[in-house]
């Protein structure tokens, strides 16, 4: 079933306005103080205020930088390691205990340690983002490469393709759908990683802004930071989706 784009857009607008309206009703009927539940008008005012003062952009750009850098570093290293793992079972047996062990520790729990070791600056946040991105991308790289049909591998062998040709013409395009699925999950996880790092200890970023606003009972500002984070995660997710639809045009039956 395919709904026209205009109609879908209209539905989105209706659904969002309904949500804001319910929020407004809740805030005004329950007569809650603004530091518990600020109404949409207050949050909008606070948003314009922080936007015009440059405060929002300053903090958001720091977080965005951490998120994107983490995505690149974590994604790239996971892809390379994933490729090596899928090629060599020996290597996999050697490495996998560490991978499993590292994943059994929640990132939230080691974030303080990383901040102690690498300081409250951007570097420790990029590291936390990379770690959150790493695992889903790694797993999907390995699975994607394993799913390459054996018959197609045999075809390449019978055509006497070199390993590089097999990589470029078979493994990359065949593993791409699953790999990009991992990257999509990684993109949203990276935002979580950055905020966790900033909440633990930092002097910049949206996580820092939330911490400061909370200390001042400026709940409207907390909402502003939260919505900004949400937008960031959605934009990144959409970006990966866009890349997917470009690279995987042959899969357009998926959308049908």
């Amino acid at each position: 079933m395919k709904i026209p784009t205009l109609q879908r857009l209209l539905m989105l607008v209706i659904s969002l306005s309904l949500g804001v309206w319910v929020w407004h009703l809740l805030a005004s009927f329950l007569r809650l103080p603004a530091f518990i539940l600020p109404g949409p008008t207050l949050v909008w005012q606070r948003f314009l205020q922080t936007l015009l003062s440059g405060q929002l952009i300053r903090h958001a750009s720091v977080t965005l930088l951490e998120v994107v850098a983490g995505l690149l570093v974590g994604g790239l290293s996971a892809t390379i390691l994933g490729y090596l793992l899928s090629k060599s079972p020996t290597f996999e047996n050697l490495i996998s205990p560490y991978l499993v062990a590292s994943q059994s520790i929640p990132i939230v729990a080691i974030a303080p340690l990383l901040v102690i070791w690498f300081g409250p600056g951007i570097f420790s946040k990029v590291l936390i983002c990379s770690l959150t991105v790493f695992f889903p991308v790694l797993i999907n790289t390995v699975v994607g490469l394993r799913e390459v049909p054996q018959d197609l591998r045999n075809l390449m062998r019978s055509l006497q393709a070199t390993p590089i040709q097999t990589f470029r013409k078979l493994e990359v395009p065949a593993a791409l759908p699953i790999f990009l699925g991992g990257l999509r999950v990684g993109a949203t996880l990276s935002v979580i990683g950055a905020v966790v790092g900033e909440l633990v200890g930092s002097d910049r970023g949206l996580g820092f802004l939330i911490n400061v606003a909370r200390g001042q009972y400026d709940t409207a500002l907390v909402f502003v930071a939260l919505f900004t984070l949400m937008m960031m995660a959605i934009a990144l997710y959409g970006l990966v989706l866009l890349i997917e639809s470009r690279l995987l045009a042959w899969q357009s039956w998926r959308q049908k």
Partner: protein, 268 residues
């Protein structure tokens, strides 16, 4: 039908043994035959008789345990068509056909021209830009055949290429294949399950016994060419079907008599 004296492939005393965790599997034993230049040979046998293994050895995908495979030239090109079309779903029809030559240093325009020529040969004009998901089973298999011809192979190996098609489509594809074969003479070895198909298409039928696979019959098919559907109604066709069916029937299956593989070669 006469052929040039030197066969394209000579297989001598071929033996293939696989060993894995569950033990040793004797796939092929003492298999010898030749494939005359530009001849059409089919390989027939019950499931598990090592037909595919034999094809894989010829394609260079499996190393023989013993014996040898001799081509009439160094570095022969082998085209391979599998039971499934095995197309790359992310490539359009023409890109799938182009693949074998993309692996060599050949100018793009030349690859395109040759692919286009083959698309016409297999009757897929108008589908150049289609993706495999939009093709029927028969069309996909035509693409696979065109792809296998792209490198102008010395030997064309077909592993039950029409096994996944319905009976009518299968006969049509057989005629199609013969047409292609007449247009581009190749040495062909094709695996099939169908007795009628084997006789209809080939100059020679090789019958492989159940594991360990040995050739128990080499049947020369002396029917006139080009073959037309009427060939099927010739008395000679019926006789050949009869002979082949007898050879493949249970009574002649040595492993059924003793319960274990026969230690020596049983001819039909």
């Amino acid at each position: 039908m006469t052929f040039s004296p030197e066969p394209t492939v000579s297989v001598k005393n071929l033996e293939v043994v696989f060993s894995d965790a569950s033990g040793v599997v004797h796939a092929l034993r003492d298999v010898s035959f030749t494939l005359p230049h530009n001849s059409f040979t089919t390989l027939i046998g019950v499931s598990g008789s090592g037909k595919s293994t034999l094809l894989r050895v010829l394609a260079g995908l499996v190393e023989p345990t013993k014996g040898e495979v001799q081509f009439n030239k160094r570095q022969p090109r082998v085209g391979l068509v599998f039971q499934k079309p095995n197309l790359m779903p992310w490539r359009r029809v023409i890109e799938n056909i182009s693949l074998p030559l993309e692996l060599e240093n050949i100018p793009k325009e030349e690859i395109r021209a040759r692919a286009q020529e083959l698309i016409e040969l297999v009757g897929l004009e108008g589908f150049e830009q289609a993706y495999p998901r939009d093709l029927s089973g028969g069309m996909a298999q035509r693409v696979a055949i065109a792809r296998s011809l792209m490198q102008d192979p010395d030997l064309l190996l077909l592993d039950e290429p029409f096994g996944a098609l319905d009976a009518l489509m299968r006969e049509r594809m057989g005629d199609e294949l013969l047409k292609i074969w007449h247009a581009r003479r190749k040495t062909v070895l094709m695996v099939t399950h169908s007795i009628a198909e084997a006789i209809y298409l080939s100059d020679k039928v090789l019958v492989l016994s159940p594991r360990p696979g040995q050739i128990i019959l080499e049947l020369t098919v002396d029917l006139p060419r080009p073959r037309t559907p009427e060939v099927r109604y010739l008395p000679a066709f019926g006789d050949l079907v009869h002979e082949l069916r007898d050879c493949l029937s249970e009574e002649n299956n040595p492993s059924n008599l003793t319960g274990k593989p026969f230690p020596y070669k049983q001819e039909c």
